[in-house]
Amino acid sequence: MIEMRGVYKKYPNGVIALNGIDVKINPGEFVYVVGPSGAGKSTFIKMMYREEKATKGTIVINGINVGKLKDKQVPLLRRNIGVVFQDFKLLPTLTVYENVAFALEVIEEHPKYIKRRVMETLDLVGLKHKARMFPSELSGGEQQRVAIARSIVNSPKVVIADEPTGNLDPETTWEIMKIFEEINMRGTTVVMATHNKDIVNRIKHRVIAIEGGVIVRDEERGEYGYEN
């Protein structure tokens, strides 16, 4: 499903963010990516949806060799991956409904299908009743739920989340985690970079720790392993 071999990334400013990453993530897994700030977590995540290109090494996602992808083909990769961010990245001029529907409009789905599917997904994240509101009218937790809905509305096989609870209070964090659990239970692979010790230690899943651009630990049902 997700496979990296000898992935090395050097930024133009000379910083080596990843220094030989080998990892395999199977379909349906839930994986936490942990590590200190600046260890290479974000770069690792960005490699998967090709926001960054690897300097060396191969990355295969859903059978697509990301390294060999032409710029024009990148949208096709991204349609198979849902991405969730710490800062939600919602379009402020679109309503909740429109933000979620956008991911389906892009792939030119039938309007009737879009309507049904978006409402279904908003129901899943518990925001059906706020479909007509704008992001600015929602709380942080609600905005993140909209972002999650957008990431899964086109039924991707993989959902990647970069610190999805970083801006949320503890209570909201658990609500968001429940949704990710639900998504994972339905068979979607979830890869989540996080700094939240409580989450990792209470909801046990595979833990990949990155330090200095290399994987230093990879455990099934692992611990967070750092102090908050």
Binding site: K72, R78, T93, A103, H110
Partner: protein, 297 residues
């Protein structure tokens, strides 16, 4: 692209125009100011050009025929003049007709010339017109050398000055147009710079959910189109109204004069069409420029 996708883009572009309140206002204003200047300028230039052409076309060479010339000599002179390159027409005007014209042009005062009707001191005249008004002087000089061409009159001095003035006016016009376009580009690129900041996030998100570049570009393309067309409305109305007033004021004073300003139709319709087109081009160009930077992966 599917029809429903195009419909979606159209809808999306309208929504964007409505929701981006002040940005829409800024862009439309930039286009409006530009088109207003271009429009006023076009009207002035086209009228100047018309007046210049009127004046040019009114320039003629009057060849006074020597009184000693026989009919044969006259015929020969006429053929010689007609054979000159650049001559458009040649018309004979007898000395009686000339006297009549003179008396008419002077009105009441002209009646004193009636006493010359028996013994007309004027010459028979050939009125020669050049195909290109600028050739007038050259043709006149050639005719001067011909036999039986007693005097050649084309408004020596005045015509040279006039042509000089017309050329200068046109050149100034060209310089002003260049300056105007430069200002417009500056104005619009500034507006684009402002909109770019607002657009950056939008495009980033579109790309994250897997939108292709053309999918992202379409609504912006259409939005630019609407903004450009919206921006052309005020200039068109303003120019039409003001020109109408101008005509009401100027037309009565020009009755019977050989110089005429351009009529409302088709001038204003032509200029309006041009302004809409120009607005659309500016809008689309500006809009696509503002997203271009973010479409490189």
């Amino acid at each position: 692209m599917k029809i429903r996708t195009l419909r979606r883009h159209v809808k999306e572009s309208f929504r964007s125009v409505m929701r981006n309140g002040w940005m829409t206002f800024a862009s439309v204003s930039a286009v409006t100011v530009t088109l207003l200047l271009v429009g006023i300028f076009l009207i002035v230039m086209m009228n100047l050009n018309k007046i210049a052409t009127d004046i040019e076309n009114d320039v003629e060479i009057r060849v006074h025929i020597d009184v000693t010339a026989t009919e044969e000599d006259q015929q020969k002179l006429k053929e010689e003049i007609s054979a000159l390159p650049g001559v458009e027409s040649i018309q004979f005007s007898s000395k009686d007709e000339e006297l009549q014209n003179l008396m008419e042009s002077l009105g009441e005062d002209g009646k004193v010339f009636a006493m010359f009707e028996q013994d007309n001191p004027l010459n028979d005249v050939f009125v020669v017109k050049a195909k290109e008004p600028q050739d007038t002087i050259e043709i006149a000089k050639k005719i001067e050398k011909m036999d039986f061409a007693h005097k050649v009159r084309y408004g020596q001095g005045t015509v040279e000055k006039l042509f000089g003035f017309i050329d200068t006016a046109r050149n100034i016009g060209l310089v002003l147009i260049a300056g105007l376009l430069f200002t417009a580009i500056f104005l619009i690129s500034n507006t684009i710079k402002i909109t770019i900041v607002a657009r950056r996030r939008e495009i980033e998100i579109m790309r994250l959910v897997g939108a292709t570049n053309s999918f992202i570009r379409w609504p912006f393309f259409l939005e630019g189109l609407w903004l450009g067309i919206l921006g052309s409305i005020v200039p068109i109305i303003a120019i039409a109204v003001v020109y109408n007033y101008f005509l009401d004021f100027v037309k009565p004073k020009m009755v019977g004069h050989f110089i005429q300003v351009l009529d409302f139709s088709p001038l204003i319709f032509q200029v309006s069409a041009l302004l809409i087109l120009l607005g659309a081009i500016i809008g689309v160009w500006g809009s696509l420029m503002s997203v271009r930077k973010f479409l490189k992966i």
